[in-house]
Subunit: 387 residues, 2 copies
């Protein structure tokens, strides 16, 4: 009677999806190649290796918590009619060139770009577009697999494999994202727009509501909904925008899944993005996406668990902690996150600073306020995909 | 490094405690004699039979989700210095006479009562106190194990085992409860007062804030805090009050644990009662207990799971569903609950009615509005302990 969801990927996004879903009586079958993946510990059943057929047979619906899953698994789930979101929503994300061409073909605004098949194309792009961001098609996220060309000396440092996606360098005023849920019947529920703050290509924190005017937030919402409708999307979709110094909104990329910049929905919205993803893919009514209070999420990157750390964070009013239980700490690894709610934007800003200070200690001076001032420089904020 | 909590009892309260705690990186060892108890499915380790010593050795802190656990297990945890809340907070709950004497000795207001050692004591009580509610000391909850004496003909129906707790029959205007968390250092965080609506001795729904004046809510809070301080309580404590027709507040009973009437905190407060219980017993800072919006919890009692049911509930705005995954449906068994948030009290009332209507169908007419009118009659609202 209760439905089973098969989740491809057992990372923290899967973990949070399972935690939100188990309380609703949903059964979870989780696939991951790594036996210590966080979501496996709370799955009803665990799958690995090439257990795809079994996973698909055992599940009513198959979804992803990570787009870089084996294409064969996606195809099998698609053929079984169980994949949500659909194959055409996920596949372009496995290749940045496909993703960009798809967005561009839909008439959605993106940074100007070229596809480089050899070093001469990059030189040509540099002459045409000026400063560049060069991306390896299938490996660029969290700041990895991308290179900056700010002058001619940078050209030889570009990797030799081709094709590469070559973007114009954007002078960013802000990065914002739209998180929405789209139901099987086409109904769309959009969360208030989130403002993202990156450091070295990784998401440090996101806050909502974003400090942008209504016209821009209406525009961003409209573009994200257009993408969702074009894909006949089902589930939670995240769309990341650059707001340029010229007040132009460009889609940087999208994610066919729940998203790091939407983790604040766990505390700051009536329904979390995880619950809404599950509702959407199960054909249940979507939940209210309204903000309860000004809210934020701060990532804990590369830090070791300690009771002292948790204690110091929870002393800051309005905070809650998620710890993913990954087996190893690594420098650029997301180990957990903090959600915050506050009564107003000023209080929220202060709490974000306090949390960053607790997590990253004296490093805080490198982030805030100098970090705020350099926010427009892409070499520092990065073009990363917060996973 | 991460701490382990041993939970005595694997029911729905344990389930929700574990779900809230696992995301914080806490490890859970859950004890239950029944192998199909809901919380066992998401425990890190499972204990049964007389595994108490092992459970206690494996855990940093031992807590309860149900007060009717084996006294030997409680004593062992107490001797190991790991029991939170303390033994003296839990033991009186295993015997309604001990509980009442403890409350009375602390000078807290309760219904007038007598302890009956034979049928003649009950007759005497009837002559002194008028209409009576007679309770079996160790078995009365959810309306079970209690008997009403409204006239002399009822006297022979009283069970023959003694002693019995004999309460005066109270003309109730409202039942309210105070949920609070008390930290190791004595800090107390109190949730807004909840108004409870029972049917046949079982909690049907609770809503917050309670519709009572500030004086009364201040008084109830003060009494609950007095009890918590007297017990040097650590963890979440629930105190249930009768508000009499004469505007008097009487403590009906307390629960040394998270409580059914506080489930709305999962959606309607900054920090849930489950999270605050865990924070308190681990010595972490308490979380904010403020209301985010007018909110309620509706129990799903004796109903079968169906996608149609869940679908119909989630269509009502502001709702979220918890399904406990119990192996069998029984008529008076709590199978799950719904939380609701709304923008104002009127909207909340309407949504509660809509939810009751969806869950209990045509029975709704027995509950609302006629049910509202009979609320003051104890034979209908009952003296039950919502578990």
């Amino acid at each position: 009677m209760m439905r089973s969801i098969g989740v491809l990927g057992g990372g923290q996004l899967g973990l949070m999806m399972v935690l939100e879903g188990r309380r609703m009586g949903i059964r979870f079958n989780v696939y991951d190649e790594k036996p210590d993946a966080p979501a496996l510990r709370i799955a009803d059943a665990v799958y690995s290796g090439d257990d795809w057929v079994k996973l698909i047979n055992d599940s009513d619906v198959i979804t992803v918590e990570f787009e870089h899953v084996n294409p064969r698994a996606l195809e099998l789930a698609h053929e079984a009619g169980k994949l949500r979101p659909s194959l055409n929503s996920i596949i372009p994300k496995q290749d940045k060139i496909k993703e960009r061409l798809m967005l561009s073909n839909l008439g959605l605004p993106t940074p100007r770009f070229m596809i480089a098949h050899g070093p001469e194309d990059i030189e040509k792009a540099y002459r045409t577009l000026g400063k560049l961001v060069v991306k390896v098609p299938n490996g660029a996220y969290d700041g990895k697999g991308q290179f900056y060309v700010t002058n001619e000396e940078d050209l030889p440092a570009i990797p030799v494999q081709y094709p590469l996606l070559v973007d114009e360098f954007i002078n960013i005023e802000k990065e914002v994202s739209v998180i929405l849920a789209r139901a099987v019947n086409g109904e769309v529920a959009v969360y208030p727009i989130t403002e993202n703050h990156n450091h070295n290509g990784m998401l440090l924190y996101s806050r909502a509501p974003a400090n942008i005017n209504e016209d821009l937030s209406g525009k961003a919402t409209e573009l994200a909904v257009k993408l969702a409708n074009s894909l006949n999307y089902v589930g939670v979709l995240a769309v990341e925008f650059f707001l340029t110094k010229d007040q132009e909104l460009l889609i940087n990329e999208y994610a066919p899944r729940v998203h790091n910049t939407g983790h604040w929905t766990l505390s700051g919205a009536v329904t979390s993005q995880f619950e809404n993803h599950l509702r959407a893919i199960l054909g249940l009514p979507l939940g209210n996406t309204r903000l309860l209070k000004p809210t934020a999420i701060v990532n804990m990157i590369g830090v070791q668990y300690s009771e002292e750390l948790i204690n110091s964070i929870l002393k800051i009013p309005g905070t809650r902690v998620w710890w993913y239980g990954k087996s190893q700490v690594r420098p650029r690894r997301k180990m957990g996150h903090v959600t915050i709610v506050a009564d107003n934007d000023e209080e929220l800003t202060q709490r974000i600073r306090d949390i960053l200070s607790v997590i990253y200690g004296s490093l805080i001076n490198h982030f805030i306020p100098p970090w705020d001032h350099v926010d427009g420089i892409q070499g520092i904020t990065g073009h990363g995909t917060p996973h």
